[in-house]
């Protein structure tokens, strides 16, 4: 316990920015815990880390952590992070976004950052809703789900974040769940250390804005649902289509080792400098 308190004091702006805004049981807080443990386990210094976050409950994370932080504007965390990474590739750039941030208003940047395979560690805290603004449907709200803007059910199909990133060209794509915190720690560390665009989707319950309206009586019911429906990816792949329905596969979906954009740049620069030397 004392050890944990020490970690909290070291990594969080605990005496300035607390209490935090997260509701009891919000998955975002669990992701924040995992993030701190992961940075700590990797032995990174706080000063080499830059966190860029969007706007939303997820984005509030940039207020709480004691790294270099940029609390960006809604949807543009990835573009700001792109500028940071390319101008100083030595920085460890962690980007935190909600599903609205990453896939609705910032969807275009998401596919392009993945396509460029730029070396960013990207966390998308997916709660299937715009949490901060009061529970409007997002581009990951499941078909039929009730939200304040779809009171009789969502009519649009939703994005599968993992498939989208994989198809767009991300080097590393994984999914964790807020119920499985230890598993999340492992995947988070891998996300932080993998070269190129590395995405971790965290399935993050928001009972306040999503669960209540979608037949989850309490926040505990949401974690129970996560516990029961989460399935390791290897197992999931063996299931029949019928059995796979409604299950949430967790694990590593893409693990490529292609050079990142900043590495390609460094190579190009080295080549050009060498050629100039020869001329």
């Amino acid at each position: 316990m004392a050890e944990r308190t020490q970690l909290i004091h070291h990594y969080l702006r605990h005496n300035k920015k607390f209490p935090h805004v997260y509701c009891a049981g919000c998955g975002h807080g669990i992701a924040l815990g995992s993030l701190i443990r992961s940075v700590h386990a990797l032995g990174w210094s706080k000063d080499e880390v830059v966190m860029v976050a969007g706007i939303g409950c997820s984005g509030r994370m940039a207020v709480y952590v004691d790294f270099n932080t940029v609390h960006a504007v809604h949807g543009r965390a990835l573009t700001i992070a792109t500028g940071i990474k390319l101008s100083n590739p030595n920085l460890k750039v962690i980007v935190v976004m909600g599903d609205g941030d990453a896939l609705s208003i910032g969807g275009n940047h998401f596919i392009h950052a993945a396509r460029r395979n730029i070396g960013l560690s990207v966390l998308v805290l997916n709660n299937n809703i715009y949490g901060m603004t009061g529970g409007q449907c997002s581009s990951t709200t499941p078909l039929g789900a009730t939200t304040t803007t779809t009171p009789f059910g969502q009519m649009e199909k939703s994005f599968d974040l993992v498939e989208l990133a994989a198809a767009a060209g991300a080097n590393y794509v994984a999914r964790a769940s807020a119920f499985h915190a230890q598993g999340m720690d492992k995947l988070m560390q891998a996300t932080f250390t993998h070269r190129g665009f590395s995405l971790l989707e965290v399935v993050s319950p928001c009972h306040t804005q999503y669960g209540r309206k979608n037949k989850f009586k309490t926040v505990v019911d949401m974690y129970r649902w996560l516990k029961e429906s989460a399935t390791p990816l290897e197992q999931y792949r063996k299931l029949s289509a019928e059995k796979a329905k409604g299950r949430i596969p967790l694990g590593v979906f893409v693990d490529r080792d292609e050079p990142s954009l900043e590495e390609r740049y460094a190579d190009l620069r080295a080549d050009q400098t060498a050629q100039a030397g020869r001329r």
């Binding site: 706007i55 609390h71 504007v73 809604h74 949807g75 609705s104 208003i105 969807g107 715009y130 901060m132 603004t133 009061g134 409007q136 449907c137 581009s139 304040t148 803007t149 779809t150 009171p151 009789f152 649009e156």
Partner: protein, 390 residues
């Protein structure tokens, strides 16, 4: 006369939009606009409003979808705030240039940064020159009333321009106020069906938004600026018609307090009511003070404003937005240039107040009055109440 109901102003605005029987609502949520569009999505979903509600993926898309829908001749509504309005910026110019009578509520909120969800007018001031008709509401009833008027102004065939209805975020949007409602028949009697002039119609194809080569670009601009200026008469007409229809009378520029007062405040938006109380107090204390409330920001009612200020010796213009590096705040800039070269021009003071949700109280106005009366405001503008050791 309709029922008087205590209701959150956002919900009253949604009700007004419903009563106007819009065909399309496209919106992206942002505080403090959310309650308006959420309520509209309910109306659409439960069949109270026969319209399409498009929960788009950003404000850029919200305004783009509004342009598309209005181009087909549909009565179109959207609403936003701050960052959302800024994201619409590119398309804000497109709507008037295509002469599309979209109506939008702007729940005024300050632009980042620092990040702020609270009220000021920085969002709309950044859109000042987009060619929209821009109206400011002072209270909940006005927000309801002017929303309905906005459709009639926008769709008038002499106008055909988009209208932005500004209401102060939280101060109005989230307040519960007694609002006098109307029924559908009453609104229908006031607001005729929209008869679009040009639409995207396969039977009569038109081209919208084409290139303006240098030989015609300026003529096109002049044309819709002229339409914007001409809309002033229509605004006047519509407000007069509303007065007749409901008994609630509004003008583009309204005076309050002592007639021919020596010192006069100019306000826009909800601060007008605070100033009104201060003016009442000051008059009770035998001060020679008045107030001018500006309701129509674009097109700027030049003659009306000049007339309203003609007897003043000192004018205190309150701006709720900063124009960094400028001569003074946006409203004061207009009023100063209005009096340029006028030998009888009053002394014009400018106070920038209430940025990012900073409260401006009756007491503040009383202090401003004392400073102005004593001739103690020296600079081009004063940023009010900045703490020196914050």
């Amino acid at each position: 006369m309709g029922k008087r109901v205590g209701i959150e102003v956002s919900l009253a605005v949604a009700e007004a939009v419903k009563l106007c029987d819009v065909d399309v609502v496209s919106a992206y949520p942002i505080t403090p606009q959310t309650h308006i569009v959420e309520e509209l999505s309910h109306y659409v979903a439960n069949g109270d409003l026969d319209a399409a509600f498009i929960p788009v993926e950003s404000e850029h898309s919200a305004m783009s979808a509004a342009v598309g829908s209005s181009a087909t001749g549909a009565r179109t509504y959207t609403a936003t705030s701050a960052q959302g309005l800024a994201l619409m910026h590119e398309i804000m110019f497109i709507a008037p240039s295509m002469r599309l009578p979209i109506v939008m509520t702007i729940a005024n909120r300050s632009l980042s940064g620092p990040i702020s969800i609270w009220n000021d007018h920085s969002d709309i001031m950044a859109e000042r020159d987009t060619g929209w008709i821009q109206i400011f509401c002072e209270n909940g009833q006005e927000s309801f009333d002017l929303t309905i008027c906005a459709f009639r102004i926008a769709e008038d065939k002499r106008v055909l321009l988009p209208v932005g209805v500004n209401m102060d975020g939280f101060i109005l949007t989230h307040m519960i106020e007694p609002i006098e409602f109307m029924d559908k028949a009453e609104v229908k009697a006031f607001l005729p069906d929209y008869k679009p002039q040009l639409t995207l119609n396969p039977k009569k194809p038109v081209s919208m938004g084409p290139v303006g080569v240098p030989e015609v670009y300026m003529e096109a601009k002049k044309q819709y600026e002229q339409a914007l200026w001409d809309s002033k008469d229509v605004v006047k007409e519509v407000l007069a018609a509303w007065g007749k229809h409901t008994g609630r009378k509004y003008a583009m520029v309204e005076c309050n307090g002592k007639k021919k007062a020596k010192t006069v405040f100019v306000t826009m938006g909800s601060l007008g009511e605070t100033a009104m109380t201060a003016v009442d107090n000051l008059i009770a204390a035998k001060q020679d003070v008045g107030q001018v409330r500006l309701r129509l920001w674009r097109p700027f009612p030049k003659e009306e404003m000049k007339k309203a200020l003609k007897d003043a010796a000192k004018v205190v213009v309150i701006d709720r937005a900063l124009s960094p590096g400028g001569v003074c705040g946006p409203v004061a800039t207009e009023i100063k240039s209005l009096f340029y070269g006028d030998k009888n021009a009053p002394k014009i003071y400018n106070i920038v107040a209430g940025l990012g949700g900073r409260d401006v109280s009756v007491k503040d106005f009383e202090e401003m009055y004392a400073l102005a009366k004593g001739g103690k405001i020296k600079d081009d503008y004063v940023i009010w109440g900045v703490k020196s050791n914050a």
